[in-house]
């Protein structure tokens, strides 16, 4: 380093600012460390899509066949009811009976050419995780028309 400095001061006009490999490696190392640390936070994120009613373009409805309306209730105690009938135990995340019933209802409605409209009514203090369990069952049954009702307001 000392030799370089002397060299530069003596021949100031011919300073050679050539490509320096050492700082480049330093920077690359730092960037790589950053991405390595961030890689630890990678989780496969999935999404449950929904469309708010009243804002988007209205769906084309078949006037001749009225839609099947299903009311699903999610209680604070994790109990899930379908048209006031209780399904599965509150600790069962997979909700097999509930999902099976939804699938049958969907198939039957498809045969008639009717749409299935589900309204999820969750109690105010019901856990969000349970609501997602219900939405997951809807996704499994390929039901996409879902409305939310919490505390008396529709969304």
């Amino acid at each position: 380093m000392a030799h370089d400095k002397r060299h530069r001061t003596l021949e100031g006009e011919t300073v050679n600012l050539g490509f320096q490999i050492a700082p480049m490696i330093d920077v690359v190392f730092v960037i790589m460390l950053f991405f390595m640390v961030m890689a630890g936070a990678v989780k496969v994120e999935r999404e449950l899509k929904t469309q708010l009613p009243g804002l988007g373009t209205p769906a084309v409805t078949n006037e001749e066949v009225p839609p099947d309306e299903i009311m699903v209730t999610v209680e604070e105690s994790n109990v899930v009811t379908l048209n006031e009938e209780e399904f599965d135990s509150p600790t069962d995340k997979a909700l097999p009976n509930f999902t099976g019933t939804l699938m049958r209802l969907k198939q039957e409605a498809d045969h008639r050419g009717a749409k299935v409209m589900v309204t999820i009514q969750a109690e105010e203090q019901a856990r969000y995780e349970r609501v997602i369990d219900v939405l997951n069952s809807m996704a499994k049954a390929q039901i996409s028309n879902v409305t939310f009702t919490i505390g008396g307001d529709d969304f």
Binding site: M32, F35, A39, Y128
Partner: protein, 146 residues
Amino acid sequence: MAGGGGSTESGEPEFQIAPMIDVLLVLLIFFMSITSAQVLRIDKDIKLPVAADAKKKEDKNAMFEAAINIRWIPTQQKSVIKLDTQELENEEIVNILTERKNNNPVYRAIIRGDRDVPAVEIQKVMALIAQAGIDDISFSALNQDS
């Protein structure tokens, strides 16, 4: 291979900088590719619910979506709402979302709620999104419990 063996005439192995840079760059590209912008915006304090049958995210362009993180503080029994990484007042969230929606008609919102959040808190966030005129909403979930 003559002259390319990375050793001096005395047989001592020599440190080669060029292959090292090659390897470093490959590693860098690998880690860059697996780190998405979404990862940077996920609040680490949020435990997302699990939904094994949810779809994989189709559009990975984070520019057209707002991530709304809802964290639950059980000790205080209150929720903290963050738009992307900023903790804002409800009115500010609505204003920002409205502006983004006006600039981009296909703008959408992703709700990343903690699994313990009461449903009423999610409803409040949905109300904010609706106020901003955004109708395309997704609920974020993980494919499996980590």
